[in-house]
Subunit: 335 residues, 2 copies
């Protein structure tokens, strides 16, 4: 034990049992229970913070007054929502990397296969009575067969490596873009900007499972999209802002056999929003779902459990896991 | 060589190269090239027949006049479209089992994951602006997580076993209903009617990959549907008639968390039809696509190649593969 900790729980997704467990190692304050003036009174004593999405009450002004703050644990997998620019350099931030891997990898496969087999497009065309039964497929209505094709995976962490394991059972070759070449059989690794540009030329489908950092924001820009195969499938289960919105729309219009299937959306005023600048949902080669992959994982209780375990490591004076490099997030990029 | 054969090719899905290959072993007649009277003239001499869907010109009257007929090879995987009741007992019929396994197994996974993750339903609700971004899921909008769940597979041939291999990579347990217990690790086998009834109680998802025979027609009836989990997913990539149409509709209405995702449709006048007696496509827990899984396999050229190879076995006097038991198909069931 390293003295008494004061922990602020900034979200109501933490269950009562977990709050009780945390109480063994710290004084626990729940943000939702605190009146504004009581919160202001407590701010200077809070040394640890457990958050899901960033709490609106914790303005940059209030963050400045949290002079004892040493540790922030995210329950979301990524940490791009943490206001690094307003944090002192002695604040450690941990992501919840890996906590959603199984559920999000399953979701990536749902989007990839929905796009490859045109399930959404075909279902809608049946509903609109725009299809008759055919024994052979018309030109242009091809179904993508995955066997012996190439899958590119950008970001080979928990989600990416799980997506890759399943790909091999579908008989696909896996090309991965990653900072570190993991020791994984049957995966061809590419690193660096030139490696990424080289990788993107080859796959029939690409899954985005990268964290959103200053390095990866809008990594899929017009130029990179144009190097991909004209009938490739791009799947995004990470963050909408990995993709340039205008470039994506223009590409989908110009290349009707290219498909973009996403569970994640672009940001408006620093928060993810279903509002888009372009009418993606009117395009037949776009599939969109409202960011349910993470919540489906959250419903298992595992992400909260893992975040609480890591918070307890900090409270016990152990080194927390999944500590991120703030340099990658301290950026002029508006989130 | 066993003398000169007269082969009738009853479909235009056979490419010219294959026709040329077949010509080395037989006189080849293409149905589409024959005038009605020329066809009638040839009928008594035809000993082998290569078909895709059953040719409308080959009425039961004409079949009766094909007195030399000894062998029918189907290019479709199943043979339920062959008019067994009008065939002499010395006619051998071969299915094209296994020819579409990879593509149809991929399609089964596309439907299973689309239903599990509610991709179609969510996409449509976004298009209709009936969804706002949520950090947690509402009651009743649950996403099914496959990991550690049970997948039932009815029919464990080429398609079923491929579906099962992929299931294990998703971390699912596999229960299979099959006539023969294959020597497959990590699969629990069930046989017979009581085995099937026992199996159906447990899975979170069930894939139908059975041939349509007198034994399997409407195997998924009201009673069996009612023994399944209330929030289970049923996927059909085999034949629509494996499922009782009225029972399925009633079950989907009564159990809104049960989901039926199908690529195959019920029969009208002995042929598959997109027409249904009930408005399935207006139900949110129904996903339908217009039988494209087989055609997507056909486009690879492999089903025709395998059917032609088996036809050549017959023409050479060898025992053809995939010979079916006509007793299973000679039925009062109207197809």
């Amino acid at each position: 034990m390293t003295g008494i900790h004061n922990l602020l729980v900034g979200t109501d997704v933490v269950d009562e049992k977990s709050v009780k467990t945390l109480s063994r190692y710290s004084r626990v304050y729940k943000l939702a229970d605190l009146a504004e003036d009581r919160l202001d009174e407590l701010l200077p004593s809070i040394d640890s913070l457990l958050v899901f999405s960033w709490p609106r009450q914790l303005t940059s002004d209030r963050l400045r007054r949290m002079t004892s703050l040493r540790f922030i644990q995210s329950i979301l997998a990524g940490v791009n929502h943490i206001p690094f620019a307003s944090l002192n350099s002695n604040v450690i931030v941990s992501s919840n990397a890996g906590a959603y891997s199984d559920e999000v990898a399953e979701y990536a496969w749902a989007l990839l296969l929905s796009a490859a087999k045109r399930v959404v497009e075909l279902h809608v065309s049946l509903r609109e009575q725009k299809w008759t039964l055919k024994r052979t497929l018309d030109e242009g209505s091809e179904i993508t067969i995955l066997r012996e094709r190439i899958l590119g995976i950008l970001g080979f962490g928990g989600i990416g490596s799980m997506v890759g394991r399943i790909a091999r059972e579908f008989g696909m070759q896996v090309y991965a873009y990653s900072r570190n070449k993991a020791a994984t059989n049957c995966v061809k690794f590419y690193t660096g900007t030139s490696g990424l540009n080289e990788l993107l030329k080859k796959p029939d489908a690409v899954v985005l499972s990268l964290p959103l950092t200053s390095q990866t924001a809008r990594i899929m820009n017009a130029e990179r999209l144009s190097t991909m195969k004209k009938d490739a499938i791009l799947v995004n289960v990470a963050r909408g802002e990995l993709v340039d919105e205008k470039a994506m729309y223009d590409h989908l219009v110009a290349s009707p056999n290219f498909r973009y299937a996403t569970d994640v959306w672009w940001y408006r005023e620093s928060r993810e929003s279903l509002k888009t600048d372009y009418p993606f949902l009117s395009l037949p080669n776009f599939i969109g779902t409202p960011h349910v992959s993470g919540p489906s994982g959250l419903a298992t209780g595992r992400p909260v459990q893992l975040a609480v375990e890591n918070m307890i490591r900090f409270l016990k004076g152990l080194r927390p896991r999944n500590v991120v490099n703030p340099e990658e997030y301290r950026t002029s990029y508006p989130y």
